[in-house]
Symmetry: C2
Subunit: 420 residues, 2 copies
């Protein structure tokens, strides 16, 4: 179904991206930061143009039958422009990972072996309505020495084009190749399909958006995909929990924001403390209007809707919480490793043995102790800006910083040793 | 085409593998080493049975129309049994990567963040005739805390079954779950297809064998694949090379072994030194009977067959070498990044600037200075036993040791901080 001219168009974009690799790989931190500085300035001085383009996108979107939340994400006002600019400044503050070299070790045959961090090459970003991704994602790719090909949602196409221009202003001002950041302007879906099948020309695909977008891309891609499926996060209240802490942590984990991947979806409570803990948590969760669904044992202590098998498997992203009373830590670990999504899970306890057991045996990208799961975030972890949170186990797991956009090669320095 | 009973059979194997994860994750180095020790003993004391089974496989193979090299790889004699045993001992000598924790850093909000190395979970190994892989690969999976599902070639099935029994002896003696190492006995190819599509039950697929096997698996797999495609390795003789070293290194890179992935396939020579270097190298390569194919410029200096465009793209794995005279280091780098396979490439030079330029700008998993490319090997690098050499950029690149079979999770330790 692919139109031949469109195919050729993407071929050219891929070739242009390839042609920038050499220069990007050897560009200095100073040069890359200068480009980001100028891009931020261009965004600032082109506010009027950005907002005009966004108005056109918004007007067009209003004629389609779209959800309010979708339209809201599309909107670019001064506050969001400010935050896009401060996002670029944050990337400037990050260390340049390219060229970092590990300590040299001597091989059995006497030569020296180390590893050097290098860019991946070309990264494809596929995203939905938020236009700020055009700036955020291209800045992270540039800082890590990668060329990027951006494919935003069609509903934001005018806004994205103007943001791309500002990013290119930055590249030009720093003598970096213009084609290091390329927005795919042709919205033919067949081009997305071609992009994710170009494993010889693209090194990584990052889809940013809902689970269904990610699933479709991951299923069809021949290029490796940095995936973020879902965050079905648990908080487990252990026998030896400080119940005041348990109350604060579980409430914060749920109500800090319902829609984020680090929000708690299931609360596990050890039967030893359920009788004392549940009535208290019921009260504070009710104040926030959170709907409680519980197992049979829970329903004997507090008023809950019946939790069904499906509740243990559901990332609500809403003011709904499922509650299960467990026999103790072993059942909690088993429940989390069975039903969880391997994102972020927490134990609340004052018992070091229970803490260590939980930290070792939960198979999730972040395992927490006495901390609400909503803290799962690269910036909170001190990684600086975040590319995303990976639910994969390979390459990058959990919050991904700039390092996730790089690779390491072996540097092997000899003095004429020969192999016999 | 999948037979329903076979599907159910693999379902059971996958479930059994899953059921061992918890125990494997928390097993100690001592326990794992004890299992490997006992497996080595079982192999040693069952030599007669192993060789009998292998005889049956060999006899059956001889009735098929197979290449001699294939039959040779299938053979298991005392020497190869010895080397299988010493391979297990090498794995015992390796450090246990599981549980290694990075330094804790303080997050902006005051909690502690570190990373802990953990097993991937379940690894599928798909290999061809060499029966030693049954012991090698399962030992590496066990040492890194992973369950494995082994799918060897049908021609080695009797031998593989006997080796599996020895490995299971080891597991039993160390109180580890028997199902941690499972050989797929049903040779229905549909099961391989089912295995590589079980992304919920299998964490990594490692194909070991020829390029075509790897390609078929990589194309169809939904599970991440650790790939090793090809080694089209280059040696570049720079203007400022020590020509004696250059001669030794290039000869060793080619003739150490023609069939390994680290063998040099293309020699690049700077035009400054070509007149002096090529006649010397011609002589020594001729002594080894290496066929030389050269570019037009080369043919003006020494006697060569004409190299065609295809020669720059060919991993010969034979006593054939293509030679190209280049203008200097920039052309050499461009040639390697264009035609190379990103495996291992070397510069011979005494000039530090040229060396650093080459080491930084060659986009290969190993970049060498004054060292023959045939040194590309995990054991030579000091990594201990090697799972394979990855030509991928993500997760593991270059020679892969035990770490490549693990992942890192974030450990986040709070004291009741709340997010506002």
């Amino acid at each position: 179904m692919n139109n031949k001219n469109n195919t050729l168009e993407l071929d050219q974009i891929l070739e242009d991206a390839q042609s920038t690799k050499e220069q990007l790989r050897s560009s200095s931190k100073k040069q890359k930061d200068k480009a980001l500085e100028q891009a931020a300035e261009s965004i600032d001085s082109n506010r009027r143009i950005l907002k005009l383009a966004n108005n056109e996108d918004m007007e067009h979107a209003s004629t389609l039958n779209l959800q309010d939340s979708f339209i809201d994400r599309l909107k670019l006002d001064d506050k969001r422009i400010d935050s896009m600019i401060s996002g670029l400044k944050k990337v400037i503050d990050l260390n340049d990972p390219v060229g970092e070299t590990t300590k040299k070790s001597k091989s059995p045959s006497g030569f020296l072996v180390s590893k050097m961090r290098v860019p991946l090459g070309v990264i494809g970003i596929i995203y939905e309505s938020r236009p700020n991704v055009t700036a955020d994602a291209s800045a992270l790719c540039l800082k890590s020495g990668n060329a990027c090909i951006l494919r935003g949602g069609s509903e934001a196409s005018k806004t994205n084009k103007e943001i791309e221009k500002c990013m290119i202003d930055g590249l030009i001002s720093a003598d970096l190749p213009e084609k290091a950041i390329q927005l795919l302007k042709n919205q033919d879906r067949a081009l997305v399909n071609q992009l994710i099948k170009s494993e010889d020309k693209v090194d990584l695909i990052i889809p940013r958006g809902g689970k269904s977008l990610i699933k479709v891309i991951a299923d069809d891609s021949k290029v490796p995909v940095l995936k973020h499926y879902e965050g079905l996060c648990h908080v487990f209240i252990d026998d030896n929990a400080d119940l005041k802490k348990a109350l604060d942590i579980s409430l914060n984990a749920k109500v800090y924001r319902y829609g984020i991947c680090g929000a708690m979806e299931t609360l596990l409570v050890s039967k030893e403390v359920a009788g004392e803990f549940l009535p208290k948590m019921e009260k504070s969760f009710q104040k926030h209007g959170v709907e409680l669904r519980g197992c049979l044992e829970t329903s004997k202590i507090i008023k809950v809707k019946d939790a069904k098998e499906d509740d243990w498997k559901t990332e609500y992203l809403e003011p709904i919480l499922s509650i299960k009373i467990v026999d103790g830590i072993d059942e909690a670990i088993r429940h989390i490793n069975t039903y969880g999504s391997g994102h972020t899970d927490c134990i609340v306890t004052e018992d070091i043995k229970a803490k260590n057991n939980f930290l070792s045996n939960i198979d999730s990208s972040s395992v927490m102790h006495n901390l609400p799961t909503c803290y799962a975030d690269g910036f909170e972890y001190g990684l600086g800006a975040e590319v995303g949170i990976s639910t994969d186990k390979l390459h990058a797991r959990g919050p991904v910083g700039l390092e996730g956009l790089t690779s390491q090669k072996f540097i092997v320095e000899g003095s004429g040793q020969l192999r016999e």
